[in-house]
Each structure stands twice: as C-alpha cells, then as structure tokens.
Amino acid sequence: MIFTGKVFKYRDDVNTDEIIPARYLNTSDPKELAKHTMEDIDKDFMKKMKPGDIIVGEKNFGCGSSREHAPIAIKEAGVSCVIAKSFARIFYRNSFNMGLPILENPKAVDGISSGDLVEVDTVKGEIRNKTTGKTFAVAPYPVFMQELIKAGGLIKYVAKNNR
C-alpha cells in the first residue's frame, strides 16, 4: 500500500487521553469517536486534517490507557498512518491488531517536519519525505507477526487456528 499525506507532528508521550478523551468513551461507535480525534492535544485537528494525512510523534506515542478507541478514532478520522520514534506497547499492539498502519522509525521522525508531504510505501518498506526529498528504509515485521497479517489479522488467525 502507498499512502501520501500532509504531516501533523507532535511531541513525546502523546497519550491516549489526548488522542480520545475518556469523556467520549461512553460509545464505541467509530464515527462518534473519530469526531474527537486528538482533541486534547490539538483542538482543531479534525478541522485541519484531510483523509490520507499522516500523524508523526516523537517518543512513546499512545502511552496511557489500553483503550483501542484511540487507534480506532485515528483510523476512522482518515489518518493513513502514524510514524513515531517509539510507541507505547499497548497502543502498538492495538494498532497492529485492528489494522492501523504504524511505523517505528526514529530517523524518519527526525527528518520530517509538520506540514511536510510524506509518502509511505509499505510494500517497498520506504518512507519518502516529498518536501525534502529524503527517504528512510522501514524494517519489515518479524515473521511471527507477518503470519498474523497474512491470515487477515489476529481475530481471523485465532478463529481459524482454534477450530
């Protein structure tokens, strides 16, 4: 898959309360959740972003609660992928499990600024900053995780292997 979008870049430790505040968690409807994506760190994010845009974080993106509502909101909002220097572990699992593309790549993060146009090619394993012309290689997933992807995700994998 190839994604191209404008970058919204944030600081270290963007937490799940900032991505989707608990005051909106009395529903699990993706459309409702998406309306409030990034609300407590960037109030106007949903007004500014266009489908396909990319979120870039520094260290420890998605720390805090286990709410899968966070990657659900980001994906439903139309964000194509999230790139960060590191991800909090539950957010990482959740995104992987529910199909939000996330890329851990410190060099790319340092080479991308807010507003840059960035292209991500998941097949080639490449992040290209179209604004600066720089490219960054992406390491492939471990074989174990590739098998989950091949099966169509975690739930399909366990449903099949559980029979």
Partner: protein
Amino acid sequence: MGMTITEKILAAHAGKKEVRPGDLIWAKLDIALGNDITAPIAISEFRNSGAGKVWDKNKVVLVPDHFTPNKDIMSAEQSKILRDFSREQKLKFYFEVGEVGVEHALLPEKGIVTSGDAVIGADSHTCTYGALGAFSTGVGSTDLAAAMISGKVWLKVPEAMKFVFEGKLSKWVSGKDLILKIIGDIGVDGALYRSMEFTGEAIRSLSMESRLSMCNMAIEAGGKNGIIEPDEITKRYLKGRSIRKPVFYSSDKDAKYVSVTEYDASKLEPMVAFPHLPSNTRPISKVGKVRIDQVVIGSCTNGRIEDMRIAAKLMKGKKVAPYVRTLIIPATQAIFKQMIKEGLMEVFVDCGAAVSTPTCGPCLGGHMGILAAGERALATTNRNFVGRMGSPKAEVYLANPAVAAATAIFGRIASPEEL
C-alpha cells in the same frame, strides 16, 4: 543461564522449558478481563468472528466499573452489552452494580487471580496482579476478543529491569511513593516493553495493599508488567481466597537484567507527581504552596482498606478545608463494608467528605467528580495527563492517601507530618 520470575511464568504458559527476551510466544491464559469501556468492542469482534462460545466461562471476567452506576444513557447501553453477553455465555465472574468493585481491587480480593498466573486484561492497569507473583499485562479489545475465542495471547518476552529497595521505609512512605520515585527517575517510557521486578528488604516488608499499588503503576513507566516474588505475606493473603492452586515462582540468581537500580528506602519521602505526567515528581518537602480544589481518595491504585484506614486516622476529628471537595471512593463493596464496621465512614462524613459506592469515576474523568477549567485536584489515582479528570485546563497531582488526607484538611498540598 537462569530465568527471571516473569520468564518462568511465560515459559510455563507457553509450554516451553525456557524463554528468552525477544522470543515471540503464544501463552495460555488463566484469566482474561474486560470492563464496560473495553469489553463492548471485544464482544462485537467476538461475534463478528463467528465464535459461538467463549473458551472458558470460568476464565473470562467482565467488570463494569468505569462509568457505573451508569452516568448516562450511552454508558448504560455499554454496560448492557456486558450484562447480556455474561448471561448468554453463563460467565461465572460478571459483577453487577451492588457487588461490583474497581476491577484491579476486586480480582485479587476475590482470589480470581493468584501467584503464577498468566493474565491479560483490556485495561492498562492489569499489571497490578504482579504484586501476587503473577504475570499480568494490559492489552486492548482485539487481544481480549482473541483470548475469549482461544484462551491465548501472543506476547514478546520482555527484557527485565530490577529495582532493589534496601533499608527501612520512613513513616508515611508506601508502595505508591516507591513507584512514583522510580517513574520520576526513569520517565514515562523508562521501562517501555520491559518487565519491572521489585525486590529488597523494603519491598518484602510492604503490605499486600502497598504491593498492589506499586505494581499497578508499572504501566506509567511504560512497563509490560510489574512483579514481586511471592513470600509469606503473599501466601497469607492468598490463603482461603485463591480459587486456583497458586504456583510460586522466583527469579534465579543468575537471571539476566538489562539494569539493576538500588535505592536506600530509608531516604525516601512521600512523592507528589505534578501535572501533566506521572514522571513529573517531587518529594513532599519540595512541593511548595499548591492550593487544591478537590481531593480524591480511591481507585485501583489506592482505594483499598489500608488506604482508607490511613486517611481516616489522619482526618479523624478534623474538618475538610472550606471550598474543598473531598471524595472517598472505596474500591470494592467488601472495603465499603469494612469501613462501616471500623467506623471509618463516620470519620469521613463527620469531617465533610463525600463517600461514594465503588467506581473508577473521576480517575479517568468519567463521572463522580469532574474538574472545571482552572481547577486543581490531588488524587491517589495513577494518571495526571491533560484532561484526565475533566477539563483539559484542569490539573491533577498524584500522591499517597496520607498526603491526600492532609491536603484535604489544609486545602493545599500538605505532608501528613503537618497534622
């Protein structure tokens, strides 16, 4: 080469003789937990997968504790999903309002989790049960759904960090302060993807309440799990409580750690985490004058009977400062009842505090004590992110119950020594 307690538990649950950090494994679970925020998504995925029955009706545990008693129609719909599913699947452990408590206080209290277990919960503070010598970690709704179907979870075996506390703790210093001290030192991602093992003389002297409180906040350093080797205190706690036979593991002498950090426990003070990260800590002596509008004593971190006793002892015969709301939230019904028995309820009501039925409530800014813009709370809870207890323009400070009690009386962050 030796293994850590975490590696031993994971190896046993993966059906392997040994595991090493970085190994990707499927681990068999003893318990899989969900709450009224995370379980509805898991149940929906479970249904979409075509699975008919959960893997084990005695091992899938549902606890509606976050927005209960339901604060509005939408949250009532979420809880109803859990109730209907529990009824349909005949789950042994579903807890209705009236018997429900905050999940990470409730499960240990009921003996549903025990030493040697492998547990996942769709709640980040599931790491609490490490205090019992279990491997226990937070996951999301999809992982919970997969566990409901298969009884398994995929995991990467974490590297381990060891934290050793030697010496005797000073008065008013508890497990909450030890974990805040660590988080302050290593940061909110200092233990990212890693296991945190707590040991030393001071840890072995901690009550089970204090150990639970400490392991509860391993996630605030990014940790995969927090764990304490079982000892006599653990065995005494589990006796007559545990619904499964506990298995007691301990770390080998030659187990490998990526870091070992030693602390002199006698030098530590009660700690306060300033907004807006749990790592933004200061010892109580360096706090200065911080006026407070609301005090919350409760949550999966510090809503246990020992916490209530400490707070009541300090507040007895005194009055909450003018214009300060003090909320006391026992974490379970058993704690609530014990507070009545011991006269703690009377102490709290007499001093002008509001006592609530068990709920996560204000900890996550859900209900039962939301902050307005510009307000400040001191809470015994576990997170102080922007907007965590209500308005994104409010502030939350984290501390132990003794500091919270003193703060309620003075209306500013105060040391229990001042009372």
